[in-house]
Amino acid sequence: MCLLRLRDVSLGYGNRPVLEHVNLELARGEFLALLGPNGAGKTTLLRGIVGLLAPMAGSIEYDLDRRASPLGYVPQRETLDPAFPLTVFEVVLMGTYARLPAWRRAGAHQHRVARHALELVGLPALADQRFADLSGGQTQRVLIARALAAEPSLLVLDEPTAGIDADATAAIMGVLTRLNREDGLTVLLVTHQVRVLQGIVKSVIWVQDGRAVRGGLEDMLARHAVAAVL
């Protein structure tokens, strides 16, 4: 069943389109990656999908009620300001705000959801630690926990393994793979690290020259001569 459909979508900034005539579908339970050279528009496409960028043309349709089933979004961690005095638990708890109306405070149920999300990423021991003091890999896992605390149907991640070591990368990909295979969570992520996708992802979306084309992972890698880099 189709969870997300892009029909002839153009995305860009100001009057300048970065991507045009994008037609894509994402089925429930899929694990899909956005690949392509630097500056191709992968993050632009991601931002359009999550609603941070309005399409210049076309439509983006969801087969879900975004109020009842919010998106889980994991941004690039450099976008967050370490000046905020927040513990790990407080950051994760923010994920529960997606389902809370303005006049309701986070209660016992939201606290349980947040603790469970921290357990899913293997970091319950860090709940009281300052968010700003975490390593890159820990920060990324906490942001994934925050996204999971929204209890999403679709998890969207922007370069979740950028700038972190191999062990942390493996841990993150392990969490995502487990959630996709065991819980049926639909996952869409942007990455430059093709190696981490092998054995996990079958289909990818290749973004280049203003277009986004879907295909098998190995086929796309062969077409775009990425195998030599691996």
């Binding site: 609603g51 979004y73 941004p75 967050l80 300001d81 000046a83 005095p85 927040l86 407080e90 705000y97």
Partner: protein, 293 residues
């Protein structure tokens, strides 16, 4: 100690001024935490100055429309509140709108706002020479001239600000910490940003009217900057900021009363001293902390 006991007597002659001081000291830091965290510190300088320009403008307009009249009546007070709020809220929304269009030159815009507001204040004063002395007092913020009525009004307004800040604390935190996530969650970020700016503007306007731009700016920033070094959680950060503001307002008042010093500058000096002590203590703590192997 005897000064403290005297000040706390029910019949203390400057009780209204004390209450007004402590109210400003308690509430200004609660909006100041957002100035510090959203890195809008310069806005905390410019907005009190805009508020002052609004006061001067409204009194000049009142004089222009109503003709020469003795200053100091209740109409003047109402016009001053209206002018302060209009200029402050107008300025804050305009700056927020310009910020959304691009973060480049944010400090330049805020700096120009401060300079223009300062210049306009003087020009408006110059155009109303009959009331210049009174207007200067109003702009300085005459805590010592506080009355039971004005304090009650101030308390009601600031109480409403505190209730709103507490009630919508999670929305304000979300739009401040991760604006993109708030959008993804479908929150009306424009509305929440606007409400936060409104609460900031109201607090600053009434703070300036009660205590003047200097004291308002001092309590917006010094307590949160001190509390930031002592706290790890957002709610604790806000509470400790407010507590530092209230306590330093009280201590500053007692010091000014005891040694016959200007009230506003003394309170700001005490607040700055606390910030200095906390900063030094924090550096010492870091220097003496065991280094990781």
């Amino acid at each position: 100690m005897s000064t403290v006991l005297e000040v706390l007597q029910p019949g203390f002659i400057l009780r209204d001024a004390l209450v007004a001081s402590v109210l400003v000291g308690l509430v200004c830091p609660l909006v100041g935490v957002y100035f510090v965290l959203r890195r809008m510190i310069f806005l905390g300088v410019a907005l009190p100055q805009l508020s002052a320009a609004g006061i001067a403008f409204s009194l000049l307009m009142h004089r222009t429309v109503a003709g020469p009249h003795p200053h100091g009546g209740p109409t003047d007070a109402m016009m001053a509140r209206l002018g302060a709020m209009t200029f402050t809220l107008g300025g804050i929304f305009l700056l927020a709108l310009l910020e959304r269009r691009g973060r480049e030159f944010v400090e330049a815009r805020i700096g120009m706002t401060y300079a223009i507001a300062g210049a306009l204040t003087i020009l408006f004063l110059a155009a109303d020479p009959w009331g210049e002395a009174h207007i200067v007092n109003l702009l300085k913020g005459e805590l010592l001239a506080a009355t039971e009525t004005s304090v009650a009004f101030l308390a009601a307004v600031l109480c409403a600000v505190v209730i709103a800040l507490l009630a919508f604390q999670k929305e304000f935190l979300l739009v401040s910490f991760d604006h993109d996530l708030a959008v993804v969650f479908g929150k009306r970020t424009t509305v929440w940003d606007a409400l936060l700016y409104l609460l900031c503007g109201v607090t600053i306007s009434f703070g300036v009217l009660a205590a003047g731009p200097l004291v308002t700016f001092g309590f917006l920033l010094a307590p949160p900057l001190a509390a930031r070094q002592m706290t790890r959680r957002m709610l604790t950060f806000s509470a400790v900021s407010s507590a530092i503001g209230g306590v330093t307002a009280f201590v500053g008042f007692c010091a000014a009363y005891r040694y016959d010093l200007p009230l506003g500058p003394t309170e700001v000096a005490v607040s700055a001293a606390v910030l200095l002590v906390v900063s030094v203590g924090d550096r010492l703590r870091r220097a003496l902390a065991p280094q990781p192997a």
